[in-house]
C-alpha cells in the first residue's frame, strides 16, 4: 500500500470544482483507516489472509455441544476464544472486542477508550439462552412441572440481575460503547445476513451527512448453539456433509447442499477523507457506493428472477457514480445454498451482462462458512485485503461447476490480479439486500 495517497495537498476535482475530499455529489469521501477480523481461521488480518489465500477451511466437527441426533454436526465455530459458561451473546461480544481492538489499533484514531464517533453494530437477535433458563429453573426448587410461572417467581429478588443485563438487545452495544468510548447512542442493527453491510452503510451515511468525522462499524456473530443450529436445520438451509467438514461449503458448485453456520467478527474504522488526511492516517480503501433494496417476494426466498438483487447492485453503482464495467472483482454473498447462489448469478448477470462470466467472483464462505450477522463486514475486510494485496482469495471446494452459474469463481487457488474496485454483496432473510463498492484510492 505504500505510495497510495501520499499526496497531502487537497486537489481540485476538475468537473465539480470541489476539493477531492468530496465526491462528485459533493459528499465527504469516506475512507477506511483501520480494520480487524476474527473467524474460525484465526485471529487478525494476517492469519486470516494467509489461510484464505492458501485455500484453507475453518469448518470443523462441532465440539462445543453434543450433536447426537442432529442432521448437521459441523460449523465454523471459534473455539480458541473461551466463554464460560457458554453464551452466544457473550461470545459475540468478545469477538467484537477483539476485532475492534485490531481495527482501532491499526487506525491510531482517538485515544484508548475514547473513539471520536458513533458505534454501528451488526448483531444477531438476543434472547435468554438454555443454560441461563435452566439455571433459573433449578433455582426455583421446583422438582415437578416447571413452567414460566415457576420461572417468573424464581427470577425475582435480584439474584438473576445479570441475566437481565446480559440479554437485553442493547447489552453488547452498551459494553462496546463504554469500553471503546464511542460517542452518542450506540446503534445495534439486525438485517439478518446483511447486518454487517448495513452497519457500514449507516457509518458511511453519518459521515456523508457531516454528523461525524469518524464511525466505528462492527458486526459479530457467535450463534453456534444447539437451538440456533436446529432452527436453521429445520429450514433445510444447512449443509449435511458432516463427514468431510472442510469440503462442506461449496458455493456455486453443482453439488452444494446448504450453508455452514459460522462465527466471527469484523470491524472497520471509517473516517472522512479530510479527517484521515489531516491526522496523517494511512488510508486502506474507500467506501464509494452503498446500494440497498428490500425484496418483497418472500420471507426467506429471493425473487426468482433476481431483479431485486440486480436493482440493489445498480443502486450501489449509481451511488458510487460508476458503471458496471468498472468493477474488477465481486466478493459474492455465495452461501452455498441452492437458491442463493443461482439467483445471485441471475441478479449479477442482469446488471453485468456478458461481463458476469468474466469478472472474478469469489465466496469467502467456502472457507469460513456463513458468519451470518458478521458476514457483511468480514467480507468487506477481505475485499479490502484483496485490493491491498492485489490477490483474489479463491472459492474452494469447487470441483463440480454448476452449469447454471457460469461465474469465474476463482476456483480453488488464489489468483493475482489487478483490482482497483471491488463489490461486496450481502443478502438476508426478510428480503434484505445490500451491495457495497470499495476502491483502493479516492477519486
Amino acid at each position: 500500500m505504500t505510495g497510495l495517497l501520499e499526496t497531502s495537498a487537497p486537489q481540485k476535482n476538475e468537473r465539480t470544482g470541489m476539493t477531492t475530499t468530496h465526491d462528485d455529489q459533493r459528499r465527504p469521501i469516506v475512507v477506511v483507516t483501520g480494520m480487524g477480523v476474527i473467524t474460525s481461521l484465526g485471529e487478525g488480518k494476517a492469519e486470516n489472509w494467509a489461510k484464505l489465500t492458501a485455500g484453507e477451511s475453518g469448518i470443523t466437527t462441532i465440539r462445543r455441544f453434543a450433536t447426537h441426533g442432529l442432521r448437521t454436526r459441523i460449523a465454523g465455530t471459534i473455539d480458541f476464544v473461551e466463554v464460560k459458561p457458554f453464551s452466544s451473546t457473550t461470545l459475540a461480544e468478545r469477538l467484537a472486542d477483539i476485532a475492534i481492538e485490531e481495527a482501532v489499533g491499526q487506525s491510531g484514531i482517538g485515544r484508548k477508550g475514547d473513539f471520536p464517533g458513533p458505534l454501528f453494530l451488526g448483531l444477531a437477535p438476543v434472547e435468554v439462552e438454555w443454560p441461563q433458563r435452566e439455571e433459573i429453573a433449578r433455582a426455583s426448587g421446583e422438582m415437578g412441572a416447571v413452567d414460566y410461572d415457576v420461572l417468573l417467581r424464581a427470577s425475582a429478588n435480584g439474584r438473576f440481575s445479570q441475566v437481565h443485563a446480559r440479554y437485553l438487545f442493547g447489552s453488547v452495544a452498551d459494553h462496546l460503547c463504554e469500553t471503546f468510548g464511542t460517542k452518542g447512542s450506540p446503534v445495534s442493527i439486525s438485517t439478518a445476513c446483511a447486518s454487517g453491510a448495513t452497519a457500514i452503510q449507516l457509518g458511511v451515511e453519518a459521515i456523508r451527512r457531516g454528523e461525524t468525522e469518524a464511525a466505528l462499524c462492527v458486526a459479530t456473530d457467535g450463534s453456534v448453539n444447539a437451538e440456533a443450529l436446529i432452527r436453521f436445520s429445520l429450514l433445510s438451509a444447512l449443509s449435511t456433509k458432516n463427514d468431510d467438514p472442510r469440503s462442506a461449503s461449496k458455493p456455486f458448485s453443482n453439488d452444494r447442499d446448504g450453508f455452514v453456520m459460522a462465527e466471527g467478527a469484523g470491524a472497520l474504522v471509517l473516517e472522512s477523507l479530510q479527517a484521515a488526511r489531516s491526522r496523517g492516517a494511512r488510508i486502506l480503501g474507500v467506501i464509494t457506493g452503498c446500494g440497498e433494496l428490500a425484496d418483497t417476494f418472500h420471507r426467506t426466498r429471493p425473487k426468482p428472477d433476481g431483479e431485486p438483487i440486480a436493482d440493489c447492485i445498480r443502486s450501489a453503482l449509481t451511488d458510487a457514480n460508476l458503471t458496471f464495467g468498472q468493477i474488477d472483482y465481486i466478493n459474492a454473498h455465495g452461501t452455498s445454498t441452492s437458491e442463493n447462489d443461482k439467483i445471485e448469478y441471475l441478479g449479477a448477470a442482469a446488471v453485468f451482462g456478458d461481463l458476469a462470466r468474466k469478472i472474478p467472483v469469489s465466496s469467502n464462505k467456502s472457507m469460513i462458512g456463513h458468519t451470518l450477522s458478521a458476514a457483511g463486514i468480514i467480507e468487506v475486510v477481505f475485499t479490502l485485503l484483496t485490493l491491498e494485496h492485489q490477490r483474489i482469495p479463491p472459492t474452494i471446494n469447487y470441483d463440480v461447476p454448476d452449469p447454471a452459474i457460469p461465474f469465474d469463481v476463482v476456483p480453488n487457488k488464489a489468483r493475482d490480479a489487478r483490482v482497483a474496485t471491488g463489490m461486496s454483496n450481502s443478502f438476508g432473510f426478510g428480503g434484505q439486500n445490500v451491495s457495497l463498492i470499495i476502491r483502493r484510492e479516492p477519486g
Binding site: 433459573i136 440481575s161 437481565h164 451527512r209 418483497t296
Partner: protein
C-alpha cells in the same frame, strides 16, 4: 449526542398509525386519552399486570390470511400499525412512492413457544433428559415458521411483503434506545437530503411471560398495585401491547403530492449516559435539551418515562428544573411498549400539535397539571429503563 449542520431540510410527519390497549386508530386512542381511560389487566398474570391489546380487524390491513399465519403477535400488530400509518399519509398502495420509501423498524425478538420450553425444563430438572433427547425434542417441537417470526428483522420483512415498502429496510435493536435512534436516523436522512420519505416505528406484544421473566430478573416489573408513572416510587413498568408507525417526509416531497402534515419534526437527538454515575441521566437530559433547541416557555413535554427507579427519578429532577413546562407521561395510559415507547410519545405529541390540544393529566402525584394555553411545540422525551436517552421536537405547521 449528534451534531447536525444548520442547513437541514424541513421534515414533516405526514402519517401516524397507532394501535394500543386503548384502541385501534387515532380517534379511538385520542378519545380514550381525553376520558382518562386506562385498560390494564390485573388478573391474568397477577401479581404482574399488562395493558392488553384492543381488538383489531387484522383483515383490513393484512389481507391474506396466509400472511397473518406467518407472523407472531408482535409482527401482526406492527404490520397492522404500519398499514395505518401509510393510509394516514395517503401513500398506501402507491407503488411508486413505496418503492423508494426508506424503512427503519425498532424491534425486539419474537415470542418463544413456551410449551416447548416448559416441557424441556421439566424433563431436565427431573434428570431424565440428556443432550441427545434435548436435541431430539428441539428438532421435533420447534416450528420453522416460529423461527422466522422470532427474527428481529422479520417485522420489517413482513411490512415489505404485505405493504410493498421496499426502498430500504433496516431494523434497530436495543430496547427503548432503538426506538429513539430509528426516529433520529430516519429524520436525519431526510433532513440531509439522503431520503425523501420514511416509514419508522415499532411494535410490542406485552403478553409474553418470557419477557416478563427477563424484566423480573432486573426487578423492573410493576407488581400488585397499579399507579401512575410518577406515583410508582421506582416500582417499574407494566408492559403494554401496541404498535406505532410514523411517515416522515421532506416538506418538498409532501407539498409536491399535496400531503397535509400533522407536525413539523424539528430536531431529534439521542445520547448514552453512564448510568453508573448518579446524576448521569439528569445531566444527559440537560445536554440533549440544550442541543434540541426547544423554546423554553412554548413547549410541553410528552415523556416515554418507564417508571423504573433511577432513570425516572433523575428524569423527574430534570423536569422539576424546567418546572413551568407541562408534562404528560404516556406510560400511565398505555403501559410500557419498550422499543415503541418513544415513537408513541412522539406520535401523541404530533397528534396534539395538529389538534391544538394537550391530552389531560393522568397522574395522582401532582406532576401533571392542567394548562391554560396550548403550546405550539411539544418535546418527546425518552429515558430507557436501563440505557439510552433521547428527545424529539415537534411543532405545529401553520
Amino acid at each position: 449526542m449528534s451534531q447536525f449542520p444548520a442547513d437541514r431540510r424541513e421534515t414533516w410527519i405526514t402519517g401516524i398509525g397507532l394501535v394500543s390497549s386503548l384502541g385501534d386508530g387515532l380517534e379511538a386512542n385520542w378519545d380514550a386519552l381525553r376520558s382518562g381511560r386506562i385498560n390494564i389487566d390485573l388478573e391474568k398474570y397477577a401479581p404482574w399486570m399488562i395493558h392488553p391489546l384492543a381488538p383489531l380487524n387484522l383483515d383490513s390491513q393484512i389481507l391474506k390470511k396466509g400472511d397473518q399465519r406467518q407472523m407472531q403477535a408482535w409482527q401482526r400488530i406492527g404490520t397492522y400499525a404500519a398499514g395505518l400509518a401509510l393510509d394516514s399519509a395517503g401513500i398506501k398502495d402507491n407503488k411508486e412512492i413505496l418503492a423508494r420509501t426508506d424503512m427503519i423498524v425498532a424491534a425486539g425478538g419474537g415470542e418463544r413457544d413456551l410449551h416447548v420450553d416448559d416441557a424441556i425444563l421439566t424433563a431436565r430438572i427431573a434428570g431424565d433428559m440428556g443432550a441427545g433427547a434435548f436435541n431430539e425434542r428441539l428438532m421435533n417441537d420447534l416450528r420453522p415458521t416460529l423461527f422466522l417470526a422470532q427474527l428481529s428483522n422479520l417485522l420489517a420483512g413482513n411490512i415489505s411483503i404485505v405493504h410493498g415498502v421496499s426502498g430500504s429496510s433496516r431494523t434497530f435493536m436495543g430496547e427503548e434506545a432503538a426506538g429513539v435512534d430509528a426516529i433520529r436516523i430516519a429524520w436525519a436522512k431526510i433532513a440531509a437530503g439522503q431520503s425523501e420519505v420514511a416509514l419508522v416505528g415499532a411494535a410490542h406484544n406485552a403478553e409474553r411471560k418470557e419477557l416478563l421473566m427477563l424484566y423480573e430478573c432486573g426487578g423492573f416489573n410493576l407488581k400488585n398495585d397499579f399507579a401512575s408513572v410518577w406515583a410508582r416510587s421506582g416500582r417499574g413498568f407494566a408492559l403494554g401491547s401496541g404498535g406505532v408507525f410514523l411517515v416522515l417526509e421532506s416538506r418538498t416531497h409532501a407539498e409536491g403530492r399535496g400531503a397535509k402534515p400533522f407536525a413539523r419534526l424539528v430536531n431529534v437527538v439521542s445520547g448514552h449516559s453512564s448510568r453508573s454515575t448518579p446524576g448521569g441521566v439528569e445531566s444527559a437530559l440537560g445536554e440533549l435539551w440544550a442541543a434540541l433547541g426547544a423554546k423554553e416557555n412554548a413547549a410541553a413535554i410528552y415523556t416515554a418515562a418507564t417508571g423504573a427507579a433511577d432513570g425516572t427519578a433523575e428524569e423527574g429532577s430534570f423536569l422539576s428544573a424546567h418546572g413551568n413546562i407541562p408534562v404528560r407521561a404516556v406510560g400511565t395510559s398505555f403501559g410500557h411498549l419498550t422499543e415503541a415507547q418513544f415513537p408513541l410519545a412522539l406520535a401523541l405529541a404530533s397528534l396534539s400539535v395538529s389538534r391544538g390540544e394537550l391530552v389531560p393529566p393522568n397522574d395522582t402525584s401532582g406532576r401533571e397539571t392542567e394548562i391554560n394555553e396550548m403550546p405550539n411545540q411539544i418535546v418527546a422525551v425518552g429515558v430507557g429503563h436501563w440505557r439510552g436517552e433521547g428527545m424529539a421536537l415537534v411543532e405545529a405547521v401553520s
